[in-house]
Each structure stands twice: as C-alpha cells, then as structure tokens.
C-alpha cells in the first residue's frame, strides 16, 4: 500500500540542548542516523510521542544542515512537557515537511533582510537566518533584532554571540525587557527597539514572536515607512493533520498548514484575523 501522509516515521532524539529555563533544542535523526527529510526554511514537522500526542513544530535547523534536524521547543502543553522530560535516546515519530516556508530562493533573493524575533519566536527564524548565512552571497545585509524577557530567556544565545555576531554583513541587535546586572546590552521591548534602530525601508522584514509583539512591531515598521508587502511573518495554530484536511487551521480560505505558515502582511490583511 502506498505511503500514507498521516502515518509518521520513527526518529530518535540524539541530543538535547537546554537553551533557557523553558526552551530546549532537540536534535532528531532517523534510527539509522540520517536526517529524516529535506525541507525549506520556515517549514514545520509533526512530532509525536504515541500516547502523549502529536504537535507541529517549526524546524529550527537550516536545510543546509545535512546531518540532522533540530527543533527548539518551549514547554507549554502536553507534548512539550513530555519532551522536556525525556533524555537522549528517546524515540519519537516525525512527519513532514509541512507548509510553504519562506521564499528564500525567490522574494528574499538579493534583498537586505531584517529579522525581528521575540522569545521563542526565534525558532522558526533561526532556520532562515542560518540558510542566509550559508548562502551569504545571495542576500544583502542582514539585521537581526532579537529580544526576550531576560538574558536567560534568549534562545540560541551561544550561537548568536559566538557565530552570528562575528560575521560580516550581519548585525545583531539584542535586547531584554528588564534591567539585569550582568547585562550590558540594550534594555527595552522589541517594538520600541526596532523604532529606535531606524532601519531604512529597502529591507524585507520577517517578524516572529508573541502576538502582542507582532502587533506593535508591525505598527512600528509601518511608522518607519515599511509597506505591508515587505513584511513577512509565520503563524501558529492548532493542527492535527498538517495537510489541509482536518479543517481547523484555516484563516478564511487559506490553511496555515498548507498555504502558510508564512504570510506577508498584505495577504493577512485580506484574511479574517482569527489567529
């Protein structure tokens, strides 16, 4: 019988990195040690633990990584709680990739990129940022604005400091919500920080973070002169199938799992705001 999209494959968690008190990054490979499948930045996969549940996560690793797949996961529900309690060697099931992904080879090509993330919102962006880094010549300048509640809540802090910050043409702007003694950088909320940074408007912006941050950052960017068609985001919603059949993740006539999760704000404007 032919392959059924809803029946997953087996995979193994080989490494667990503790990013923040409530975010861990899981490295996942097939039992024979290969990357489960190919994907494009911004796409998602369904992870499940039989008996616990199945949930959709964005793939955090870049497609340029050929050995494994990574997922940065924040503890918030049933499946994530379980994942946060497991140890390396734990089997999971995986299926995907799902969604449209970022237009890295079309709309983003040769553009100056501005990535803005808040908290766990960096997870889906990390894939595209690293993709851009690995295909550096295909993209213009890269600015990354990333903020979180505190220094401890910055996901991938080590990679950001050790790698991203040292690369040419990449500017990383970090911020945290409240003063901390050991923090020397900027303090303040992401939307305000974006306005302060006064980016020029010839960039393509990608936003990801909590709804409230998205709302104000979008307004901020528009104030700076950005047009809605220049701004992308990626959405999250409850999903069961991932292939546009189970009927719950639609925004109007668009399914987030199939037609999204990446949308431009001018597209979203024409859809009901049920997200």
């Amino acid at each position: 019988m032919k392959k059924e999209a809803l029946i997953p494959e087996i995979a193994v968690i080989t490494d667990i990195r503790i990013d923040t008190p409530d975010v861990r990054t899981f490295r996942v490979v097939t039992p024979d040690g290969k990357k489960p499948f190919e994907h494009i930045p911004g796409q998602c996969a369904m992870l499940s633990i039989p008996g616990v549940g199945e949930a959709l996560f964005s793939i955090t690793s870049s497609p340029t990584n050929t050995e494994y797949m990574e997922f940065s996961i924040k503890k918030c529900g049933c499946v994530t709680n379980f994942l946060h309690a497991v140890e390396p060697g734990q089997y999971v099931t995986v299926r995907g990739p799902y969604g449209n992904g970022f237009p890295v080879d079309t709309a983003f090509r040769n553009k100056d990129m501005l990535f803005i993330a808040g908290g766990i919102g960096l997870a889906p962006l990390r894939s595209v940022i690293n993709y851009c880094r690995h295909h550096r010549k295909d993209y213009g300048k890269i600015d990354i604005v990333y903020g979180s509640r505190s220094m401890q809540d910055l996901v991938d802090y080590k990679e950001i400091i050790d790698e991203w910050c040292h690369e040419d043409g990449i500017h990383v702007h970090l911020t945290i919500d409240r003063e901390q003694p050991e923090w020397k950088g900027h303090v303040g909320f992401v939307p305000n920080f974006v306005k302060e940074l006064q980016f020029d408007t010839n960039k393509t912006a990608v936003l990801c973070g909590p709804p409230i941050m998205i709302k104000f950052t979008l307004a901020g960017l528009q104030e700076l002169g950005f047009k809605k068609y220049q701004i992308y985001t990626t959405l999250e919603m409850k999903m069961k199938c991932g292939i546009g059949k189970c009927g719950r993740c639609n925004l109007g006539d668009k399914f987030i799992c199939k037609d999204g999760p990446v949308f431009r704000f001018d597209q979203l404007e024409e859809l009901p705001d049920e997200y």
């Binding site: 999209a5 029946i7 529900g77 546009g244 059949k245 189970c246 719950r248 006539d253 024409e270 009901p272």
Partner: protein, 340 residues
Amino acid sequence: MKKIQLSLLPKLLSAIAAKKALYLPVDGKAGADYKRYEEGDTLSRACRTNRSAKDFFFPQVEDMAAFRVEGKKIEIIDTRKENEDFVIFGVRACDVRSFDILDRVFLADPVDTFYENRRQHATVVSLACDAPEETCFCRQFDILAEDPAGDVAAWIVGDEMYFKAKTEKGKKLLSSLDVLLADGDSAPVEKEKKHLEAIQHKLPISEFNKEHFKPEDLMEHFNDPAWAELSEACLGCGTCTFVCPTCQCFDIRDFKTNDGVLRYRCWDSCMYSDFTKMAAENPRHTQLERFRQRFMHKLVYYPANNDGIYGCVGCGRCLAKCPISMNIVKVVKKIGGKKA
C-alpha cells in the same frame, strides 16, 4: 437502461450481496439508516437516512496505525488493510454529490489513502427522489434529485426499477447482474424525471441567495453583524456536523491499549470549543466564531478553493436534526439576503 420488477428486487439485492458487501438504507426504530444487507432486509423508501452516506468513506472512527512502546523505543505498525469491494445501494442525489465534495479534500495531494482505499472499492448505486421532505433543498445547489449521479443511477417507476450505468464501474456491476435484469426503455424514466422535477419545484425552500456568497466578498460576510444573532442560541453540539454529508473535519487521537498505543482519527466538529484550542490560545474562543466558521467554510471558503462548488448539498439533515433549529437555510437567508 436496465430494469427489474420491484417484486424481484430482493433477488437482485441477494445477488449483489453474494458477490460484494452490500449496504442499503433500511427503516429502523428511529428512521432509516444504512446497514449491511442481510437476507430479508428491504430497501427503505425514505428520502433521507439519519446518518449520511459519508460514513462509507470517512467513518466516524478509523484506526490509523498502532505503536508499540518499550522503554525509549517506539515501533510503528501499519494496520491498514485493503478494503473489501462493496456496493452502496439507494444513495440519494445529495449524498452522491457529497462524495464529490469529500473527494476534493481527501483525494487532493497528498492523497488520504484510507479514504482513497474505500472509494476505490465502492460502487455507488444512486436512487432518484420521489418523495422529498419539505426540508430538502438540494436543487438550490444545482443537484438534480430526479437524475442522481453515481456509478449506477436508479429510478422507481410504478412497480419497476430502472437502472442506468453512468461509469465503467457501474457498467460492470450491471453486467454482473445481467441474468436478473431486463432491458428497459428510457421513455418511462424520462417521464418520471419530469414528474419528479415538478415535485422539486414545489418544495418550500427556494429563494435561496447562495449566489451572493462570492469568494471576493469573504471579508464582508465574515464581518456581518448578523452572525452574533444567528449563533446566539447555538448549543455548540456537533449534531449538524456529524449528520452533515460534507463535514469532514477530523481529530487524530491516541488511545493507550493494554500493550501499546492505537492512533485513530475520529470526526471532530468545528462547533466544539476545543476544536482550535491550543495550550495558551484559542483563535476561535466564542461560539460566534465557531458557528461562523462552519457556515463560512461551506459557503465561501470551500467554493473559493474548489471552483465555486459549495460545501452544502441541501440534504436538509441539519434542518431536521438541530436541537434548536438553527441551520444553513436561516444563515443563507440572513447573511446572503442583505445583498439582494
């Protein structure tokens, strides 16, 4: 065109059942419902079964896979089996159309193999409606109850039943029953069709403004203030979605058996409060939004994605079954009516 004396219908049914699994609507305690044919069962003449015929291809509960869990290890067991060949006999035009609507979801890439498997093994024998209920309105969706689609279409004219194969599968079925069937003239059927069509025109639910539901008016309909009033009395049960032949939302769940995990899918309803509920957020947190979703899906979203075909077949089940008598007709009249 083939025909058979109605008195010989039991013979025909047994002949079909001898070769393939046969399902047909049978009158029961509380109305008609499909059941697997057993000797002695008679075809119900009711124009509507309680449950729709979607169950044949998209059953309420369906096992998808099993898992064996031992320590940290997981093993997947593909429990799928090739479906048996079966015939559904006496499907009304509205339900036949619903198969088409479901096909566009489940057979779209990536194909749902569970659905496809059943669909491939089924032969649908449809039956023209001779006594529609006053709650029927399939004609409003351009469905011809007097000339239903399907692999074989059937008509009851007087004391004879006529059959016409409409697909290869249908031809095969009819030819396998050749011994019992006589050749029939199409004239009585054509006459009957005219008669049946005339009945259709007398049905009370007309003046339907479905053409006002254009995909380009999506936001306008979405923001219609009338949704609040329409959804006010909605109990949030799943009756309308479960009796609906085109509702296809499902949930995937795990059941812990004594030695592993069974993953199954079951019908879900967009009317349920936890349908879109996530750990922290719920994008449709009131019944208004859930109610709106159901009707917007049938009248706007589905057509937008499927060449303008509406996700309703006018079978009238929701009219008959809703505990508070709120239904798509009231919605269409209220929301679509404003544009007229």
